[in-house]
Symmetry: C2
């Protein structure tokens, strides 16, 4: 398999290393920074370097665009323009709706977002095991070519990641809620402690709730300003929702409503428990065989239905061939998810048999 990585920083470099070591792929790299390319070659992350993006993607089966958010649009456009008709193109950006809106009409493009590797940067820190067990969101749509989605899915699972298909807009709301809003609130905690407690006062000690809640405050200013902006619509929605919830808590306090505060706190305790439990790993994998008519988007439909229900797909294959008018999609999901997955796929109108 020929894999091309455009942008060999921490993420791109780690994809390259894992693709060579774990998938036995031939990896071609390109980067606007020649020094990064040299390090990638020295570290054995890439087999070859290309002089420009178009040359780099010419013979690729899988193209991973690992450019920074500001350069992503142009890099994906270049990759799609130069890639073959049978190549799948993905990216690793942290927001997905805008990109999927722009490129989702091309069946070869599948948006991607691995949840890994925020603490360091650069190819020097790249590791083949960076994605082990990490959720890797994919945002296929009805236009996505099933064969190419399946190839990308299997490639990423082969790197050690857990690919999860998800609607692009939901992905962005999810990221706003579980990552971008926590960063903003961490910043607010630090700003409040710094400015609202009096300029002349040092903070003699902080509680563990403050330390935990501010660990990400002020993270990587240039990077995070871009992340906030790339997800501005969803993040603004999240901020508005958070503001309403703060106001509700303030009302309970101002009213001295002890019962109301206790109920709220107890409800949050339940909700937190439910969130934690919904994230738990399933048991061993079960195989699901789904008979499908080979219409466009069928693989994406199934993957999205499972992703929407929080069910990760451990592996996936198409049999006998996606070019036939009918075929079988074989999926592996966690044993505890198998029954639910089977029902969800059945609801889509497909016949499912489980191992």
């Amino acid at each position: 398999m020929n894999v091309t990585v455009l942008g060999v920083g921490l993420i791109g470099g780690s994809v390259a290393l894992a693709a060579r070591e774990r998938a036995g792929a031939h990896v071609t790299g390109w980067d606007p920074d020649p020094a990064a390319l040299s390090v990638a070659l020295e570290r054995g992350a890439v087999d070859a370097v290309a002089p420009d993006p178009a040359t780099a993607v010419a013979d690729a089966d899988v193209i991973v665009v690992a450019a920074p958010l500001g350069a992503l649009d142009r890099a994906v456009a270049e990759a799609l323009a130069a890639a073959g008709l049978d190549a799948v193109v993905t990216d690793v950006g942290s927001t997905k709706a805008a990109l999927t809106d722009r490129f989702g009409g091309d069946g070869r493009f599948v948006g991607g977002h691995p949840l890994a590797g925020a603490e360091t940067a650069g190819v020097a820190n790249a590791r083949a095991d960076l994605f082990d067990g990490a959720t890797w969101y994919l945002t296929p749509n009805a236009t996505t070519t099933g064969l190419l989605f399946e190839r990308l899915h299997r490639f990423l699972a082969g790197l050690g990641a857990r690919p999860v298909a998800i609607d692009a807009a939901l992905h962005d709301r999810l990221m706003a809620g579980v990552s971008h809003l926590p960063h903003i609130l961490a910043n607010v905690l630090v700003a409040h402690a710094t400015h609202a407690l009096g300029d002349e006062e040092h903070l003699p000690a902080t509680g563990p709730s403050f330390r935990d809640g501010t660990r990400v405050a002020g993270a990587h200013p240039a990077l995070w300003a871009d992340i906030y902006l790339a997800n501005a619509p969803a993040l603004i929605e999240a901020l508005d929702d958070a503001t309403l919830r703060l106001a509700a808590a303030r009302d309970l306090l101002a009213a001295g409503d002890r019962d109301g505060l206790r109920s709220w706190q107890a409800q949050i305790a339940d909700e937190r428990r439910a969130l934690i439990e919904s994230g738990r790993e399933g048991g061993p994998a079960r195989e699901l065989r789904v008979a499908v008519t080979n219409r466009p988007g069928v693989v994406a439909d199934i993957a999205l239905a499972l992703g929407r229900a929080g069910i990760g797909i451990a592996d996936m294959t198409l049999a006998p061939s996606p070019d036939n008018t009918a075929g079988v999609v074989v999926l592996w999901v966690g044993a505890t998810d198998a029954e639910r997955a089977s029902r969800l796929i059945g609801d889509l109108g497909f016949a499912v048999t489980t191992s």
Copy 2:
């Protein structure tokens, strides 16, 4: 030394254990729950139990009221009514302004708040080392008897704690900022993730910022509702400030102000660093000798000036005698704080010599 602990739960029981083991004190205990008293006796936390609070405090030098927030007012009033004129009475409640307003006119009362022990409860979990290195806020005022403050300070340092004198109102704003507001924001994050991301959607994965930021969400509903309410004025101020800061971040996002967001994020990074650094430990202790006229409140003035500047007092003694018209207060502070402490005390009009 005779020490009385009213309320032998986790905090009271730990004070009792440490007082016996580390200060060689004779400890008398009382608790409205006879079972808790029995366990305290069995565990060797107290030497003796009393039938009622008045009997318990009759011969005490130091009285620690470790009652829950709802019962604190009445318990402190009872203790002051029954205690000798030479006893110091303190509490361990998490907010201080209301209590200090009510009882601060009595020179024997010093409000207290140890930052320790939120994860478990009950005398069964009490430990003599619970306060090792923990900040223990004290809120003396101009009426506080210097001799009694010094006795309490030395007693708490003997338990392993780091007593820090602080203005009661500032204490409450500080707690709102570094503890109560983080809890409210953690709750808001959980509520947003649960309700704003769509009822039918499971949350496939959460980032580390979400996990860190929600660790305390929904903590101990009954306890925390009372903590919020006890500090309602300061917490409402903090919520209002946080809401304004959220709105400012939203404005930057809505305006697409990349430079503004980068500056904000970078400023927060600096502020977070400053907060962390201001909390660092000093080196070895240095001795400061302060010549004072023995007017009321002089010890509290000095302790508050240092506490306000974030300087912890490792130990303190009054020499030759606080009853003379003039005397010497001997303080030990961290070596890196010694020069600043000396200047601050000099600013109060006292002559200081350092070791």
